[in-house]
Symmetry: C2
Subunit: 464 residues, 2 copies
Amino acid sequence: MRDRLHLLTASEASALIRGRQISVVSLVDASLQRIDALEPGVNAWVTVDREGALETARRLATESEAGRFRGPLHGVPVGLKDLYDVAGMTTTAGAPPFAHERPTEDAESVARLRRAGAVIVGKTTTTPFAYRDPCETRNPWNLGHTPGGSSSGSAAAVAARMVPLALGSQTLGSTLRPAAYCGVVGLKPTYGRISLRGVVPLAWSLDHAGIFCRSVADAALALQVLAGHDPADPHSAQEPVADYLEAVSRAERPPRFGLVRQFFLERAGPEVGAHVEAVAQRLARAGAGLEEVKLPPSFAGVHEAGMRVMQVEAAAFHAVRFAAHAVRYPPQIRGAIEDGLEVRGVDYVAAQRGRGQFRAETAPLLARFDALLMPVTETAAPRGFSSTGDPVFCAPWTFAGVPAISLPSGLTRDGLPLAVQLVSGIFDEARLLAAARWCEAVLGFSGMPSESLVTQGGGREGSR
Amino acid sequence: MRDRLHLLTASEASALIRGRQISVVSLVDASLQRIDALEPGVNAWVTVDREGALETARRLATESEAGRFRGPLHGVPVGLKDLYDVAGMTTTAGAPPFAHERPTEDAESVARLRRAGAVIVGKTTTTPFAYRDPCETRNPWNLGHTPGGSSSGSAAAVAARMVPLALGSQTLGSTLRPAAYCGVVGLKPTYGRISLRGVVPLAWSLDHAGIFCRSVADAALALQVLAGHDPADPHSAQEPVADYLEAVSRAERPPRFGLVRQFFLERAGPEVGAHVEAVAQRLARAGAGLEEVKLPPSFAGVHEAGMRVMQVEAAAFHAVRFAAHAVRYPPQIRGAIEDGLEVRGVDYVAAQRGRGQFRAETAPLLARFDALLMPVTETAAPRGFSSTGDPVFCAPWTFAGVPAISLPSGLTRDGLPLAVQLVSGIFDEARLLAAARWCEAVLGFSGMPSESLVTQGGGREGSR
């Protein structure tokens, strides 16, 4: 078992620790060894807090040996996108030269992870300020391909089995896209479901926390720990928290899916398109309800509206720093801020109302199904590092603030991960997770990156 | 009793109808007669639906004679600010030449009033688009003075005993200010507590419904009917509705007040200032807790932030109509829209965050008291009709979205109403109403406009 500890999911590891079949120290040690072995090739980490993680592991081990467990993540190693504040660790937001901060308090979500017993291993890479300019991380499935972004490091670290659980964020498609490209589960819950206090914003009204893991059960477990009202985050929702673990443990009823061919399958590349159609048929054969759905009229304008909101809010957040350091900003985020500075208030307000219209119009559609089914991305992870890929299939659901999950579902002919996206109604995470768990059981995807690829290290194959 | 029916409060009338001591028809008839007698002097109504009101009254009378009651407002005559849609009645928004609409559906709040048994008497005047350009309504206490605005007609109609209950709205100070000037109770509940679906907006993120009546018990009764989630209004709150009637029926414990001298009493005119100080001392002598409080630092910027938000949202709502009809807009609303069109998106976002900061900083202060105590306006109702008065003492609490009430508390030497403002924490309407009910009992204000004044009709005394 000892040399396979890095393969455990968070739920499996937690159960074994609670059963005293494995020790917290050996689990954290396995995580650190895995990072040592694969990090030269993958480059998923900004900071690895080796000493801190081992010290916490020893303390938690003493507690668990005495039969005391902090919570459902007792001893589980976790990575955090380098937007999340951890007391005493630098937050760089992917732009270390001019944006680093040394917080004295944990982000609310980090505090919740710690209370649940998680071991913070370190900070994972993010694209600069969580926008589209790529960072140096590579896809563990093929080091010549992007892992996607902006939560590049969290997706890659979970895919490379360095940690079973990592947090990211999603403002357009920054959790589901890299999860799809890296063959891991990526969950973005409803807007406001997880506090973002202590997380560097990209755009306040669009930012969501994201969860990376390797099973739907783990996504439910992490959400159970992280969800809940935070009075100190003005965007935090008061909606009561459901029992997500219960929902996934009883996911036996075949769900009812709305298949979104319009825009999504029309625009997807041939390999992704054929794959999602095949998955849909496979789910239907296994008993799922399947009906093609039409998107509401407001879908036509929601992308432009959401982008405008994002640009203006990014420009508002960066105003002071951008005035001092504009030339140091990489081109994509610089362009977004420059565009945002030009937008009139009335157009921002109109864009927010366009989002609201889409949210309102999709609510009855989402209520008719357990989840909508569609691709996460147009293609598998693109070759090279000039782009983190296109978030266009994820962004509408981020703009609507509804929960969405990326579920690994197959491999391309070239051995890169393929995925399906499931989307449910606002605060319907329990329904979404149950549907995803059912799919996971039917699809039985169990691929993982080849050891030779992730350990090869060395120079990049891709062109820039 | 018959010639005094117009003096009944909504609660009193409702109880007498339920006890079959008065008939719905006679109550509605008394309301219509009172309007006939006083409307020439006061000018509170845009539309009086005599036929419709009497027809509804007859139907409700048949039901109540058979022992069937629709709800707690069964048979109670109600006025609606002419921003509220009533199916089949014109909505003018105070700008009849170019803004009238003929809605086919009731506003959600109107539907709730009807379900509770209310009789819609008609539509009351509003300043154009609920902003500061005065309308033609006069203060029933002295026809040479403004009733305040923008809910001018609802305040005047309730003060003149034409109806016991009317709805208005508040974006800056459009409910509490006219309530104070007209010597009636004015309640603005928490942002999102009452649906605004079917109500012409001024500024979406600032607009609140307002309740005009003549007792705190009536305010509680109306709020009980109107409060609650409306899934079709994107700004409607999901917060559970409290038992407001229970709260006011047990308002025996002396409340704890925070007296706000800073800004409010510093800036109030001498007569209002002395009055509010005297009220505070009287409440303290009756057993209330009383402590002077300091406003949080963000108070300094909240007025400018809120005004900017208002201007931008007004400009966004009016964009199309303003492009076609700018010259027909009266000067105050025209100026606000023109200013709003100039504001950058980033500055709007910063202003919204300034409001959020003030909301966050006042929450702990509000939590320490049953209510903050301060004046509603700097002076009693100003003479003349060139202005509806200054909303500067109401606007901060509208910007914060917290519940506030204006309670009549005395008269000036010239016989104009004076009032105090109570403000509580977000969704703490039960606490606010209980505190207001306690004050009402201690202060025992029972003034009403002199009959000779309200029936004099004829030309205005005031200068323009």
